[in-house]
Symmetry: C2
Subunit: 358 residues, 2 copies
């Protein structure tokens, strides 16, 4: 285990671990390598923008809010690299970095949202001394990290109020402290319910091919002492038909203006099954995941990843050599299947987002 | 690769490989170890009943028709063990073996069906010389193996006629030569369509936790040159919503009198999604899988297997130590979600089985 320098102190995540943190020197980004969990807790130290970009692209860090914060810290590293540059060159440098960061993963809106905020800040302060521009960028990035944690805590409480006092919740993928600045979105709702002394049980879909549920969600909930049972994604329908599930709570990578939601592959199927079994589906997101500039789910670009994630595990081949695999990383859940969009602004009808969610 | 003695000759399966074969000596049962596929093609040689029982229980061999045939060969081994026994002791011996075989896996009806046929034969010939009883048992077991292959070829043609000339079929688990005496049930339908020169493409669900789709179905279809694409079980809804799937064809482990079907976990969810997307679901089974003595799906005992199949892969832990997992091996698909039950007797409405399927 590689211990980051802030270990044992209060990380911005508010937890003993953090998906991503910026070092005090404003130059190094610590990224918890989620590919190694739960077997190993090791941080990758990114000392340049390229390291930040590959950490996102290779899924060392994942989860829409967490990759937004990571990108913001990437902008800080870029601002540090550009302290000696004149205003125009500084801006041009940051735009280049921003474009590279945005290309690292296409579906989650938080990444583009963070980069664009960083670029606006850079433009505003471009005439100021290099070290000041850098400090401002670092202060801004840490603030969006803190804001994300605060939003998750707020939406967690709002979502928890939607759940019964004794409830069994199904969740998909990982939406916890590891996927956000800290605390979590769907797992934030579950954590808030648990902290409010509700009798909460969780079924976690293992979430093939990357196993975020089996590896990460189980790891987080088990650390917190919240009862969790892992199932394969194929068991959802059976568990629902047996009456084991009271509610489904998931996160999202992007919410379109019409309330359609892009989230981890499998969410759409779960949403259909929930509707059929009359089980409410809550989508928990900070407002930064809502993208009013994207009209509908059909307008969201869905990332397709390397089939090797599906055909191999830990270097061992699962499928025969030469067999094709299809590996879409996300799917679209239409607004009509969603009971409520749980944000820090309230539990909203997703079909009313263009009217402020009312 | 351990080569069985019949290698290179015509196996009863009709293929170059066989899930199970009885040696010419009527004493040794060759079971292809499906846990090692597609990485290794190795046969386990069972020289006693205990070896046959663990081959079924440990899923060295799996698939309802294949375990039925394996159990029949287990009865042959038992008959060989009992050549010197008097009639009453012989029957008692075979009943003991039959009970052990039936307990090895509870859901598939074919296992009990084969054991009961074997016991009836033993009873009928109990007074005859031991070697003759043994030969009769061997001849009977080989005949049900041949009958299964013939039934699969017949139902394959019937099912193929239900498919369009250009069709993309989704299938779940493995229902091929490996799961039967040879040829396959749902894969038999796909093979027959391919042999009839239909333009067939297959999406194979990987089928967690045991990965029968990724490992076995992909292996069989790839050997036959039939185009196959592996997806994770969580991608079914997305693929259907994209219009990628024209029909779903699956097998079954037991069909109840009311047409409800027990099949590999995940089938029920796929059936719900198919209904929602207006895609026909065909369940392909030899008539030996129809169990008119079981009134409804609710009366079928669903096997729950060791959670370790879900929490570990190839000896590596996927979930954190101490985290619970739930591992039901089968689920129930109600008759109303099934377009037709494809058997060697015809493509039947599953809701009319008690009226002969008409």
């Amino acid at each position: 285990m590689t211990l980051p320098p802030w270990h044992g102190q209060q990380a911005l995540s508010g937890a003993a671990y953090s998906a991503v943190e910026l070092d005090e020197d404003d130059r190094r980004v610590y990224v918890l390598d989620q590919r190694l969990l739960p077997l190993e807790e090791r941080y990758r130290i990114c000392t340049d923008v390229a390291g930040v970009v590959t950490s996102i692209g290779d899924m060392v860090v994942r989860g829409a809010p967490a990759i937004g914060i990571t990108a913001a810290y990437g902008m800080v590293v870029a601002a540090g690299d550009g302290v000696t540059l004149e205003a125009a060159d500084y801006l041009s440098h940051l735009h280049g970095v921003g474009a590279t960061l945005m290309a690292s993963r296409p579906t989650a809106v938080n990444l583009a949202w963070a980069v664009q905020q960083g670029l606006a800040l850079a433009s505003q302060h471009r005439q100021e001394p290099g070290t000041e521009r850098w400090q401002q960028m670092a202060a801004w990035a840490r603030q969006i990290h803190r804001d994300d944690v605060a939003a998750c805590r707020q939406l967690g409480q709002i979502g928890a109020a939607c759940l019964g006092d004794k409830t069994t919740v199904l969740t998909h993928c990982n939406t916890g402290a590891l996927a956000t600045g800290g605390y979590g979105t769907a797992l934030g709702v579950i954590r808030a319910a648990w902290e409010a002394n509700k009798d909460v049980q969780v079924y976690a879909c293992e979430t093939r091919p990357y196993l975020q549920g089996a590896r990460l969600t189980a790891w987080e909930l088990h650390r917190d002492g919240i009862p969790v049972t892992v199932i394969s994604d194929s068991m959802v329908g059976h568990c629902m038909s047996q009456g084991r599930i009271d509610a489904v709570v998931v996160g999202a990578d992007r919410v379109a203006k019409n309330g359609d939601v892009a989230n981890k592959i499998g969410t759409y199927g779960i949403a259909c099954l929930a509707k059929l079994h009359d089980i409410p589906l809550y989508v928990a997101v900070p407002w930064s995941t809502v993208d009013l500039a994207t009209p509908t789910g059909a307008d969201i670009r869905l990332e397709e990843r390397d089939p090797i994630e599906l055909t191999q595990f830990a270097g061992q081949r699962l499928t025969p050599a030469g067999v094709a695999a299809y590996n879409p990383a996300f799917d679209i859940t239409p607004a009509r299947l969603i009971e409520a969009l749980v944000t820090e602004k309230g539990a909203l009808d997703p079909r009313g987002l263009d009217r402020g969610g009312c």
